[in-house]
Subunit: 456 residues, 4 copies
């Protein structure tokens, strides 16, 4: 009778407790996603392990995680001590065993993410509570400790996005721009230009080479296998900015190959762009456990636990299975985008740029608009299309400064790229319905612009 029902209920509690025990024991990313109830129970258990939630705690220090607003306390599941210690962002906090366990599990599961995505050569990963740019800063500053004092120049393969340049210059290092080559429609790494700069600058003056894998078409992922070989030969560190490359198996295969073929010290990726969490975290991964550990040890003081907790919840919620199916879906949606965008371009007297090496971003020409092409942006903006970019035709004469770095024809990744274009990406989480809606709005925006052009 009643006892049997209560027993069955107790069994259900035990089933969930076993899920938790298994996570803590096996310390790996679960194959199957957890339901929200199970995740909340785990967070509650962990929160109870933080001293500010001890029923009997008395705090006589300067940092006791007293939280004024209950709304704030609740949104952090009552964990308030952040992560890290003064000496190491990856250290266990005595006052916050629960928060610390989350941080440890996140680092472990993030390595599982990196490997599942295809970079089996990775042996360590740290989830920093910093977005990609700042994660790059920490990586460069850590590298600098291993290099001669003269090594203050960073060879940077041009990609027209400001945050990487700023990361380098913020550290006080000098950016040496390595220009790209145009190959057909694609903008790609110019390996001979790179080798030339290595020779010119001199390896003792080079902190590292920074390459990029994820980028807007028609720029393509850098030739990182060949770059890794140069780095190995020349004994120059190599850092890959892989901002949103985890979501593409083509890109992760490149990174894996680069590790096999040559030198990669670290590759850095955004948690929000790959794992569908809010902005705020980055994963720094690499082959050399000691180097990745040192990045954590460089971190002065504590940090917000929020990015780690977001990743924690999300990875538990997805499970490996969920992530795999997101990766698969993205690939399908990318092909749909390519097909539909191509057909749309043709219908408009334009064409899809041929960029077979870029597996995430696509571009179509804007040749029929002349100098009005740049006006397309605002027509898309008012139709609530975000993320597309309009790049105007060759503006080699115009120069954009990012700190001390000057780049002509900024936005096109090359000072002399031919013609205006519009980019669009198929990022993780995009659906086929969104592709269709995008095409509809592009159609409308093109029409709007042509109408506007016809007006006196």
């Amino acid at each position: 009778g009643n006892d049997a029902y209560i027993q069955q209920g107790a069994d259900a509690i035990r089933t969930r407790q076993n899920l938790v025990k298994s996570l803590l024991a096996q310390r790996k990313w679960p194959e199957l996603g957890w339901d929200e109830m199970s995740i909340e129970l785990l967070l509650s258990d962990l929160a109870q392990m933080d001293s500010n939630n001890f029923p009997a705690n008395i705090g006589a220090g300067e940092r006791e995680a007293r939280v004024y607003s209950d709304l704030v306390a609740r949104r952090h599941f009552r964990m308030a001590h952040g992560i890290g210690r003064s000496g190491d962002i990856a250290a266990i906090q005595p006052k916050a065993a629960g928060s610390s366990l989350i941080m440890k599990l996140v680092n472990i599961m993030c390595l599982d993410v990196i490997r599942l995505a295809g970079v089996h050569a990775a042996n360590a990963c740290i989830a920093l509570p910093l977005a990609t740019g700042m994660a790059m800063v920490m990586t460069l500053l850590t590298l600098a400790q291993t290099r001669p004092p003269s090594a203050r120049k960073v060879l940077w393969l041009r990609i027209d996005q400001k945050s990487c340049i700023k990361a380098i210059t913020a550290c006080g290092f000098e950016v040496v721009v390595v220009d790209n080559a145009i190959e057909g429609d694609e903008v790609r790494t110019d390996l001979s230009a790179l080798q030339h700069q290595v020779n010119t600058v001199g390896k003792d003056n080079i902190l590292c080479i920074v390459s990029t894998t994820s980028c807007f078409a028609p720029r393509c992922p850098d030739r990182i296998v060949e770059i890794a070989k140069i780095c190995a030969t020349e004994s120059i560190p190599h850092v890959i900015n892989n901002a949103y490359g985890i979501q593409s198996s083509k890109i992760t295969a490149l990174i894996q190959d680069a590790h096999k073929a040559g030198r990669v010290d670290a590759f850095v990726q955004s948690s929000d762009k790959n794992l569908m969490v809010p902005v705020g975290g980055a994963l720094v991964a690499g082959h050399d456990r000691a180097f990745i550990k040192r990045i954590g040890e460089m971190y002065p003081g504590r940090a917000s636990a929020a990015p780690s907790v977001d990743i924690f919840i999300t990875l538990l919620s997805m499970g490996q299975q969920g992530f795999r199916s997101l990766l698969k879906q993205r690939k399908v949606v990318f092909e749909q985008l390519r097909a539909k965008l191509g057909a749309f371009a043709v219908s408009q007297g334009e064409r899809l740029l041929e960029t077979p090496h870029n597996p995430i971003s696509l571009a179509i020409t804007l040749s029929t608009f002349g100098s009005d092409a740049t006006r397309l942006g605002s027509f898309l903006f008012t139709r609530c299309v975000s993320g597309t970019r309009v790049v105007a035709a060759d503006r080699a004469a115009a120069t954009t400064s990012v700190g001390p770095v000057s780049l002509s024809n900024f936005g096109a990744h090359h000072s002399a790229y031919h013609g205006a274009y519009l980019t669009a990406a198929a990022a993780i989480g995009m659906t086929e319905q969104e592709v269709d809606a995008l095409i509809d709005r592009l159609t409308a925006a093109f029409k709007d612009l042509r109408a506007a052009m016809n007006q006196p």
Copy 2:
């Protein structure tokens, strides 16, 4: 009849809307705290302004704030774009007008906090989504851009806490330790030692002087007025680590005076330690608007909005009135702690160290325990007392390394401090009941230790 009731309800909605309008119009920290309902309504309104929450949004970029877990989305009030742009952490994000408004308002209200607390000389404040250590890194790196390339040494007034040393060395700068003087029971700035180091190192080789205001007794806040004078005279930048000093009017008065008397480039404080939010943010404030602005412009890329949102909620919830009463309460509780801790010490054959210059932390001697004093820590730990620190007697022979810096008798702020002691602090939010409970547990822990010492 019914119309009147509905009218009255509509009036209530309007009252809250006016609260919001007034905040957005006046852009200052409200005098009176808001209730949670009003805060949630404002957050909802702002969240709706972020493009990922537009009913009609289509995202075709690489970062579209798609959030996988609804639990994660909810805890961030559905804001996911973080703060900042690639070029500037304080810039408005096109995709996230609501998040950007929060960030702007937080910076404005944080300056109000700084001024309310007593530093009227401050003209600008930026809330960084980084804890104090990393905020110090950003401040030093920004300073470096204004200094000659030779200026790579930081004169650091010894305070035995690791994260500031790590901040300096993480940037690749060299720490020059300036030893303290012992004056009675107090450990204080040795101004002549400082002047000596300035002369020895040479000002062109000095990036800046880093002083500290909030610290554990018996170390006292640095003599920042005199230091500011030296900095002015010598044209050396001056950064104050004011980690938890906002909560003490004595300390903020010192900072105000230092601005009047000499040079202060920036002072850095923790949001969690002063504003009762979870770990993760810091306020960098200063007299020179342009310099503080440049710190934001140095920040490469975006960052988590979580620390800003926590501050936003908390400051609205407190109002100026609530913060003032917290400051007042802390002062009262500090006096209670001083009186009760002193009486307790006497009852145990010990005494309160005389540290009149430290307005937050206190210390009592542990002279009756000999070398067993250090065991006290674990007795307090098991009784759930956190935040107290036991510092053993003179260990000048022993040396602790923090990166490249070696310090003898680490923990005591001086290589030759006399005798063991225990510290306790009265930080913001502490209550009189907690002081009483602390004394009870100290009594029990002392008894435990004496019993343990008597066992063979």
Copy 3:
């Protein structure tokens, strides 16, 4: 620049406000479901209209909706005044204009539900914060006010479920059982038995006839069209217990036809069983606006708003479109269940009972288990199968009492039904995967039972 972004954000706010305005203006169930953010915003707006949330409210009465626990306040979106007034559950509360609006909108949208489901003859609907049994009590007590004092007997078409009998006897009325007929495998209304009872009891002694539409196979929905005709002819009220019949278009078509052909005073349905909300509400609907209104006016005092708020959220979240697709899905899943359960039965040497008139519930024989059939229940229980029912073979000799009513062979709806059987239903929200899992577990449980039977 920034202004355009903020303008776009403000537009997004306005879009959601228009959704709210349109709901309040049009007062009908939206065609498209709302997202959670929009629903929460509406609830916040409405909550602000309740006096306990007025920033300036002073309460000097005995009921001022002060809520002790913030957790409780939050889960009710800070609405605490409940619904109704002392005189009428459907009246506007002066202190709670927001809660009252929800209640009004719920009643309106519930009528839309009833009509969308197929009962166009319904002109009024009231959502009572009572489950079906108590809603039946309120309906019968209201009916009684219109009947002669002698009318204290209720002709009840036998259905073996306790709560309807209890509803009748709780009111102090007498249950007159009208036995069913067996037709093939089906248990159906015996119209001549009903007419006989009408004649025997005498219409002035009859409060009403209570028929039932949703039931476990092999009982089928009552012949309510014919019953309605008898009620019309004899001037006897007719109440239909339509507990979970809204989800079946066959049943709603019957109810619609009954209205056309004869007399139906009210039909009562559960909110949880049809609308996927927690237990606690019922919809009482009918043709006669005045009668339905009188039920609300009978309700003494206030009541919990929770069931109404759950319905409110759910109907907004579904939209008419979402509900339609749930109804469609249920029909498909029912056919799958029929096919798979039938095939399973055959594979086990059993058969599906032929019950074409029951569109929700199905049954298979348990003829191969003899008296062990009843043991099947516990084998299904331990395999976490809920909702199936095992009915043992003919137990005409055994009698079950429900208050003053005695029924032989209780559970089978007829004192002499042939053979044991197992029922299973395809209710709203069931998925094809659940059907498959059910068949798997049935297979395992049958195997378990056969193994157990073979053991000595």
Copy 4:
């Protein structure tokens, strides 16, 4: 090191688990209130025991607690099965062991509430998910089952509030009004009128006597001790409407005395008015365990768990200690209200009515306003004062109908009460600040009204 921290965290989890174990083992209202975290953990554990949350559950019934909206599921902590079974509102549900446990614990703790408040004679209590009016309906219908069929009249001691009359008439019973006596300023039970009605109606025709304890001044709690004696002598059941009387020790002492001196079958109180939860529940308590149990068994079908869950959370949150201090505070605030309202009245040329027998509500005369007194209401309404009531001078000529019952001078509890007055109550949770604000607004409203009266 780390192990010790994790151990300490695990100890903290265990401390909370012990709290839960102790509650489930001891089954009594905890002396000390729980923090929100502990309450949420308990709710999570209990929710997991409900079958709809079993990870492996398959539902093939008609009621499987599938919840469409996640927002709805969350606000019910994912419990959806409601409480009760078809046969008994207090029965354990097989599908919902967790929800059932809550309901059991609530009934136990509510009896603790009744006793703590002072009615030690109570041996049983059931928390019904119905507000007071409907709880009265259930009580009367249950009583009717024990009385002769002729007993269909309820002797009702006049109190001018509609829901009790409606409860009686909704059941189909006849209300026999027993008029009150005026004694000084007070309106009190006229015992001889009561005895007269008992004699006139005849006890076999009387279902019960309904008395009331909590009411607006100048009506006072009924003389329930003497009424109980009459009921004992005459063998007539006695039901006390104690709507908000639990909060007054004077009233609970009366109820206790009534049990000792005579007959009380049940006393009914609101959960929202006494326990600071949202409207929706009532506690029916009494001396006779069997009778209270029968009320639960009368309840047909299931019901919303929301009112029980609200009580559960609130009682755990308060603890006995918290409730005791609320009772104490109310007494203090009542005395403040009496003093300040009295002084205010004198300052306005009015006076406090002398109503020493009413421990919750007070009244002041409105003799200086003549027939304009009734206009005061709207002036208070626009100043956001709720809960006060303005009763106009003698309107014996005017008659109000509540169903079949007609009462002259409705609102004054007596057809010939002298003069207009304004009532105000000091209910549980009211604070001294609210009293002060009330006096301020009264002052302003009086001024407004006098100004309005002086205008042509």
